[in-house]
C-alpha cells in the first residue's frame, strides 16, 4: 500500500529541512522515495497548508513501573475527576497526573507522540515496568535501567574492580532488564539513606562502601561510553531540590572529565541561595555551563501550576520533601538492596514564591541554552507536571507575549528574582522539531525514528498551523504510527501495539558465574528469573523488540 502525503510544510531537522513544502511517500510503514509517475497511489492526504513533522519522542516520562503504580494506588482523587469512557475502539481508563497505562498510550498518540521513554526502571522492578509498558498502546516504549545505588556495583567499586569488569556488569544488566540506556539517581545516595545518611554530596562517601557520588558518576559515564550505549549516562544528580544545588550541578558537569552526560530535569538542580528567602535562580550559570560544555545535554523538567504527584527513585530526597505532600500522604520504599522510590503528591502554586521561581527557572534554562540539540522538552512527567501540558509549554517557549502574561501572574517576589522577562527569544517550529524529535532520536540512537528521510519509520504528525501554538500542538490533524493512521484531530482512530527499544551490548559471559552465585547467596530471586526474556516482551505477538545499534567503534 502506497500512501502519499501531499504538499505539507515539512520540518525535518535531521535533514536540515526547515519549513519546505514536500510530498512524502509511505509504503509498508516506511518513508520511501517518490515513485515513478505511473505508480498507483492507494491513499492520498492533502496536507497543503499543514505542518508536517516526525512523530514526537519523549525521552523522560514516568509512565510505567512500580512507583507509577504506587502513585496510581495512592491517588484515587487524581482519577475521579478524570474518567475516560470506553468506546467501541478504545478501553476505558482514568487519571491525569498518574493516568492508567492504556490511557497514557492514547493521550500521547493523540498529541502526536510516537515514542516515550520510562527513565527510571529499577533492575528489581524491570519485569513489572515492561508489563505496564506492554499495556501502553500505540506508542513505542523504552526504559533506562537505574544503577548507582545497587549493591553489586558499589561492592565492585569498593573492591577496586576494573572498569572492564564493571562494564560487563552494566552491559549484562542492560540486556537482562531489556533497557535502552542507563540512568543514575542520586548516585550512591539511595543506598546511603538505607544506612541512615540523610544527605550525600558529590564528594561525600557512602558510609558503608566508602564510595562517592563523583566516583560513581565517572565509573558509570565511562562504562556507558565504552560500551557504545548511544544515550550518555542519564543523570539525576545529588541534592535534588536543595537550595544551592547549582554548585553541585556545575561540579558534576566539570567532574566527569569530558565524558558525555545527560542531566535530567535540570530545573530541579539549578537553585541558588541568594535573596531574602535564600532561594534563587541558577539558570544563567547552568545554561552558560551547558553552552560551554559540548559533552553535556539536558532535559528541563519544567513545572506547571496545579496538582500533580512526584514519583522518583530518589527516596532520600522524597523523604526530605515529605512535609510538602499535598494531599498529606506519601510513600517511601527501600528496594532489594538495589534501589528505592518515593511518591509525594504535590501542588505547585503560582502564588508560592518557591514554586513560582521554579517555573521561571525552567523557562530560563530552555531559553538560555543556545543549542536545541542539547536541551529536550520535558516536564519530568508527572513530577513537574503531567505530560498533557506539553502544548502549553510549547506556547510558552514560542510566544513571548504569552510567556510574559503568565509571568506577571507570579508571586511578585519571584518575578523580582527572575530575568525571564528580559529574554527575547522565541522558539521556532524548526527548533521545536529539534528538541521534540530529532535531538532525542539522535541522543538515544533510535536510527529510523525522529526524522522523515527515506527509510525512516513512518511515524508522522500533521498539525494545522495556528497563532495559538498550544491549540496547534494539542490536537494534531493526523498521527501516523508506522504508516498506520492512529489519531485524527486528537482522537484515536486505530489502536496498535508499539515496540520496545532495546540494546544488546556485548559482555564477557564470565560475568554470569559470580553474579549467579551472588544472587543465590544474597538475593530472593534467581538470576535466570531476574532476567526479562525476549518472550515476555514479545508477549504472544502483542509486543515487538527493537534492537538499536550501538555507537560505532564500541566493542559490542
Amino acid at each position: 500500500m502506497l500512501i502519499k502525503l501531499t504538499g505539507g510544510t515539512v520540518y525535518d531537522p535531521m535533514h536540515g529541512v526547515d519549513g519546505q513544502v514536500r510530498d512524502i511517500y509511505v509504503r509498508d510503514g516506511r518513508v520511501v522515495s517518490s515513485p515513478p509517475a505511473d505508480q498507483r497511489i492507494d491513499e492520498e492526504y492533502d496536507l497543503r497548508g499543514k505542518v508536517v513533522m516526525a512523530g514526537a519522542i519523549d525521552p523522560h516520562s514516568h509512565i510505567g513501573g512500580g512507583k507509577v503504580n504506587i502513585a496510581r494506588t495512592l491517588l484515587p482523587e487524581d482519577h475521579r475527576p478524570h474518567p475516560i469512557p470506553r468506546t467501541a475502539l478504545t478501553r476505558s481508563g482514568t487519571g491525569r497526573a498518574a493516568p492508567s497505562s492504556i490511557t497514557t498510550g492514547y493521550r500521547y498518540a493523540e498529541m502526536g507522540y510516537t515514542a516515550v521513554f520510562e527513565p527510571a526502571m529499577l533492575p528489581a522492578n524491570s519485569r513489572q515496568a515492561h508489563m505496564e509498558l506492554a499495556d501502553t498502546p500505540i506508542i513505542d516504549k523504552g526504559a533506562y535501567v537505574m544503577l548507582g545505588s545497587d549493591d553489586y556495583l558499589l561492592r565492585m567499586m569498593a573492591a577496586g574492580k576494573t572498569q572492564a569488569e564493571i562494564n560487563d556488569y552494566i552491559a549484562y544488566t542492560i540486556v537482562a532488564a531489556q533497557a535502552v540506556a542507563v540512568k543514575v539517581v542520586n548516585p550512591g545516595g539511595i543506598s546511603a539513606f538505607k544506612f541512615n545518611q540523610r544527605n550525600l554530596d558529590l564528594d561525600e562517601k557512602n558510609s558503608y562502601y566508602g564510595v562517592t557520588p563523583r566516583q560513581i558518576l565517572q565509573t558509570l559515564a565511562r562504562g556507558v561510553k565504552e560500551l557504545g550505549i548511544p544515550h550518555p549516562l542519564h543523570i539525576h544528580g545529588c541534592n535534588l531540590g536543595v537550595p544551592g544545588n547549582v554548585q553541585t550541578t556545575l561540579d558534576t558537569i566539570t567532574g566527569v572529565e569530558g565524558l558525555p552526560i545527560h542531566l535530567t530535569h535540570i530545573q530541579f538542580h539549578s537553585y541558588g541561595t541568594e535573596g531574602d528567602k535564600k532561594f534563587s535562580s541558577g539558570a544563567a550559570q547552568i545554561a552558560e555551563a551547558i553552552n560551554r560544555h559540548k559533552h553535556v545535554s539536558a532535559d528541563v523538567g519544567q513545572i506547571m501550576f496545579g496538582q500533580t504527584v512526584t514519583a522518583s527513585g530518589d527516596n532520600m530526597a522524597q523523604f526530605r520533601n515529605r512535609g510538602f505532600a499535598t494531599p498529606n500522604k506519601w510513600v517511601c520504599m527501600d528496594i532489594e538492596c538495589d534501589a528505592g522510590c518515593g511518591v509525594v503528591p504535590f501542588r505547585y502554586r503560582d502564588q508560592n514564591f518557591v514554586n513560582a521561581l521554579q517555573w521561571a527557572i525552567g523557562l530560563e534554562i530552555f531559553l538560555l541554552v543556545e543549542d536545541p540539540w542539547r536541551v529536550f522538552l520535558t516536564t519530568d512527567h508527572p513530577n513537574g507536571a503531567p505530560f498533557t501540558s506539553y502544548p502549553h509549554l510549547i506556547r510558552l517557549l514560542m510566544d513571548k507575549s504569552f510567556r510574559d502574561a503568565n509571568f506577571e501572574r507570579l508571586h511578585p517576589e519571584a518575578q523580582a528574582m527572575s530575568t525571564l522577562k528580559s529574554v527575547q527569544r522565541e522558539y521556532s517550529l524548526y527548533e521545536i522539531a529539534i528538541m521534540t524529535r530529532a535531538a532525542p532520536s539522535r541522543s538515544l540512537g533510535l536510527g529510523d525514528r525522529g526524522h522523515l528521510g527515506v527509510g525512516a519509520a513512518a511515524d508522522i504528525t500533521v498539525y494545522t498551523p495556528h497563532g495559538d501554538r498550544e491549540r496547534m500542538f494539542e490536537k494534531p490533524d493526523y498521527v501516523f504510527k508506522d504508516g498506520t493512521p492512529v489519531a485524527r484531530n486528537g482522537r484515536i482512530v486505530r489502536v496498535t501495539d508499539g515496540g520496545t527499544h532495546t540494546l544488546r551490548p556485548g559482555f564477557d559471559k564470565a560475568v554470569l558465574k559470580p553474579l549467579r552465585a551472588y544472587f543465590e547467596q544474597f538475593h530472593t530471586m534467581r538470576l535466570e528469573n531476574f532476567c526479562v526474556s525476549d518472550e515476555e516482551i514479545v508477549n504472544d505477538g502483542r509486543g515487538r523488540i527493537i534492537v538499536n545499534q550501538l555507537r560505532a567503534g564500541s566493542r559490542g
Binding site: 494506588t73 470506553r86 513489572q128 499495556d135 561492592r155 537482562a176 500522604k329 510513600v331 532476567c531
Partner: protein, 432 residues
C-alpha cells in the same frame, strides 16, 4: 540474544527435572524450587513446603467442560458463557486467582461488559489499601529484610502459617550483604496463638514475645507512639501488656539500625483494622526521624497482589472497581463481593481461582461461570464450568510478589492440554 533465560530441564529416564522453578502458591514466589515431572505427575524435590507440595503435587481429575452439570465441549461451554456475559447487565468478575495474563483478560471482559472486579481476599487487602490511601507509608522489600534488618517485629502473625519458608529465606539465611550476623537479629512477636518456634535463632536465642490481645493491637501501637513522643502513660498495662515491657520494646525499636515491622492483613480480622495498619505506618514514619525503620506486609496469597497491580495500571484503581458507567469507578465498600451478592446487585458471577484455595464460588442466586483447574472433588454445580490450567504448572506466566516490587516469571513444568485463563478470556472476548 538474552543470556540468562530460564534453565532448560534436565531429562533422566522418563522423568524431567526443572530447576529455579517459581512457586505461585504463596505470595513469596520462591523461585528456587526443583520440580520433577514423572509422566505428568509432579514432585517438589527441593525448596519445598506444605503449600508448594499442595499445589504442584495435587492431582487433576479428567473433568470436561460442563453446562448445568452436563459434560459439553469446550466450544459449547465458551459459547454458553459468552451468552451469559452478553445477557448480563452487571456481571461480577470474582475470585481473580490468576496470573498477569489472566487478569488482563478478565479486565478486558469487565471493561467490555460493564462488570465489577473483586478478589476472593478483597476484604483483607483493603485493610492495607485504605491505610495507604489515607496516609501513605514507608515499606521495604524481601531482599532488604534478608540482608539489612537487625530488628524484626511480627505484629499479630507468625509468618510461617501462611508463608512456610519466610524464616528460612529472609530471617535465618546464612549470610547477609553487609556483615550483619543474621543469627543475632532481634525477633519480637506481638499477639497470641502464634507459632513462635521459628523465631528461635539458630544459636538458641528465644524471641521476645509480648502477648497482647490480638484485636487490641491498635492500642499497643498507640501506646508505643505516645511513648516515642515522650508522653507518659497513666495506664499500667495496655492491651494486656505491661507498660514497662512496651518501654523495653520501644528501646529495641529505637536502637535498631534498620528495623522492620511485619503485619499481615488476613491476620487482622477485626473491624477498622485499616486504622491499626495506619497507626503502624505512622509509628514507622515517626521512628525514621532518628533511625531507619520500615514496614512490610505479608498476606497477598492466591494472586491478589497480581490482580490488584494489573487492575491499577490498566484502570487507575485498585480492585473493587466497577466498569458499569462505561469508565472505571472505585468503591471498596460498595463493590465488595459479599455486599454485591447479598444485595443481588450483580446478575452474573464469573469466578476464577487457579491456585490453592477458593475453587468453590460463594452462594448466589446469579448464574455462575467457574474457571478453575479440574481438581479432584471440585464442585462443578454451576451454570458453566470451564477447566483451566494452573499458571506456573500447566503454562508459563508472570506474577507480582508480596512486596509489590518484584515480579517473577512462572514456568511450565508439564505438558497440558488445559487452556489458560487468558486463553479462555480471549475466546470469550471474540464471542461477545
Amino acid at each position: 540474544m538474552n543470556p540468562a533465560t530460564a534453565a532448560s530441564p534436565t531429562a533422566k529416564s522418563g522423568s524431567r527435572t526443572h530447576t529455579s522453578v517459581t512457586c505461585p502458591f504463596c505470595s513469596l514466589l520462591c523461585d528456587d524450587l526443583e520440580v520433577t515431572n514423572r509422566g505428568g505427575s509432579l514432585g517438589v524435590t527441593a525448596g519445598d513446603c506444605a503449600r508448594a507440595r499442595g499445589g504442584f503435587e495435587r492431582d487433576y481429575a479428567s473433568l470436561s467442560p460442563q453446562m448445568d452439570g452436563r459434560d459439553v465441549s469446550m466450544d459449547q461451554a465458551v459459547a454458553a458463557a459468552a451468552r451469559l456475559l452478553r445477557g448480563a447487565r452487571h456481571p461480577l468478575y470474582g475470585g481473580l486467582g490468576t496470573d498477569v495474563a489472566g487478569m488482563r483478560g478478565l479486565l478486558a471482559l469487565a471493561d467490555r461488559t460493564g462488570g465489577i472486579v473483586d478478589h476472593m481476599l478483597g476484604d483483607t487487602m483493603y485493610r492495607n489499601i485504605l491505610a495507604m490511601q489515607d496516609r501513605g507509608w514507608i515499606m521495604t522489600t524481601m531482599t532488604e529484610v534478608r540482608n539489612r534488618a537487625d530488628v524484626v517485629i511480627f505484629a499479630n502473625l507468625d509468618a510461617v502459617s501462611d508463608h512456610p519458608r519466610f524464616f528460612e529465606r529472609n530471617i535465618w539465611n546464612a549470610e547477609s550483604m553487609f556483615g550483619l550476623a543474621t543469627k543475632s537479629r532481634r525477633i519480637v512477636y506481638l499477639g497470641e496463638g502464634l507459632n513462635t518456634r521459628p523465631g528461635v535463632s539458630p544459636d538458641g536465642r528465644k524471641p521476645l514475645h509480648l502477648r497482647n490481645e490480638p484485636e487490641r493491637l491498635g492500642e499497643l501501637i498507640g501506646a508505643l507512639r505516645a511513648l516515642l513522643a515522650g508522653q507518659s502513660l497513666q495506664a499500667r498495662t495496655v492491651a494486656g501488656v505491661k507498660v514497662a515491657e512496651l518501654t523495653k520494646l520501644l528501646g529495641i525499636m529505637k536502637g535498631a539500625k534498620y528495623g522492620v515491622i511485619i503485619w499481615s492483613p488476613p491476620r487482622l480480622p477485626f473491624a477498622s483494622a485499616d486504622l491499626v495498619v495506619e497507626a503502624i505506618c505512622d509509628l514507622v514514619k515517626e521512628l525514621n526521624a532518628q533511625t531507619r525503620f520500615s514496614g512490610f506486609a505479608l498476606g497477598g496469597n492466591e494472586g491478589i497482589l497480581t490482580a490488584g497491580a494489573v487492575c491499577t495500571w490498566q484502570s487507575g484503581y485498585q480492585l473493587r472497581t466497577d466498569f458499569a458507567a462505561g469508565y472505571p469507578e472505585f468503591d471498596p465498600t460498595r463493590n465488595a463481593t459479599a455486599r454485591l451478592l447479598a444485595d443481588d446487585d450483580v446478575d452474573l458471577l464469573l469466578w476464577t481461582s487457579t491456585f490453592l484455595t477458593g475453587q468453590t464460588p460463594p452462594e448466589t442466586k446469579a448464574p455462575t461461570v467457574l474457571l478453575a483447574p479440574p481438581l479432584r472433588g471440585l464442585d462443578t454445580r454451576c451454570a458453566v464450568y470451564i477447566p483451566v490450567g494452573t499458571p506456573g504448572v500447566d503454562h508459563r506466566g508472570q506474577m507480582c510478589r508480596v512486596d509489590n516490587v518484584v515480579s517473577l516469571p512462572l514456568h511450565q513444568v508439564r505438558e497440558s492440554a488445559l487452556p489458560s485463563v487468558a486463553g479462555v478470556c480471549n475466546l470469550l472476548l471474540q464471542s461477545l
